[in-house]
Symmetry: C2
Subunit: 105 residues, 2 copies
DNA sequence: TTAGTATATTATATTTTATGAATATGAAAA
DNA sequence: TTTTCATATTCATAAAATATAATATACTAA
């Protein structure tokens, strides 16, 4: 087995992984987006519920949600007048659990 | 027991936690800082070693390290001509392990 | 003391992100 | 069909992050 190539490959992987993971982290790396995710980690919420829970303006919540939706961390479903948001990316669920385990006790 | 106060307290905790954790995440949320941390997760490294491993300029490595040192993720020790960096925050070590477990396989 | 090597700092141009106000959309109720 | 309610979008501006080049420090060896 050619070690040189093996290393080159794993460095490439590492770079790729770091690019992806840092993108995810960037989406979480804001006090209020993280707060929103903490609430979503406990289950689906509407925009209005998040607005109350996080004491944020409607516009702010909407923009934060959009940002995280773009990064595919969450998705939404409109039912009647309300839009329900939830975490979709299973990796993000795992990450939120890890964060809780590490930093919240 | 007063539920209202209990909730108020836990919301306060949540806010505090989110502020701290998002600070940590922000420090990781850059492809090359994350790359540096991945290498440090495997053990102490000098600035020059990181520069080679990550193909970055000396100045860039130095600045990234400074940034993460300010956030107390890492620290450094000068021995002779070389400065050795390592991860100090045990939470960051755990987090790097989680990230690896979630995103790198 | 001079030269060389490893690292740190500074300056700055550029890009990205945050914030808040105003306005728009679109579904439902009256 | 007008009004109301939940949510989304746009826009202006401020603030922060990033990249890069140039220069400085500080230790070592000759």
């Amino acid at each position: 087995m050619n070690m040189k190539n093996a290393n080159a490959a794993s460095i490439r992987d590492m770079k790729k992984n770091c690019e992806h993971v840092s993108g995810v982290l960037k989406a979480l790396a804001h006090p209020q987006r993280l707060m929103i995710l903490c609430h979503l980690a406990e289950g689906e919420k509407t925009v209005g519920e998040l607005q109350e829970l996080c004491t944020l303006s409607q516009s702010a919540v909407s923009q934060f949600l959009k940002r995280m939706k773009l990064e595919n961390l969450i998705d939404s479903e409109k039912r009647g007048l309300f839009v329900h948001y939830r975490i979709v990316d299973p990796d993000v669920k795992k990450l939120m659990n890890s964060l809780y385990g590490i930093f919240c006790r």
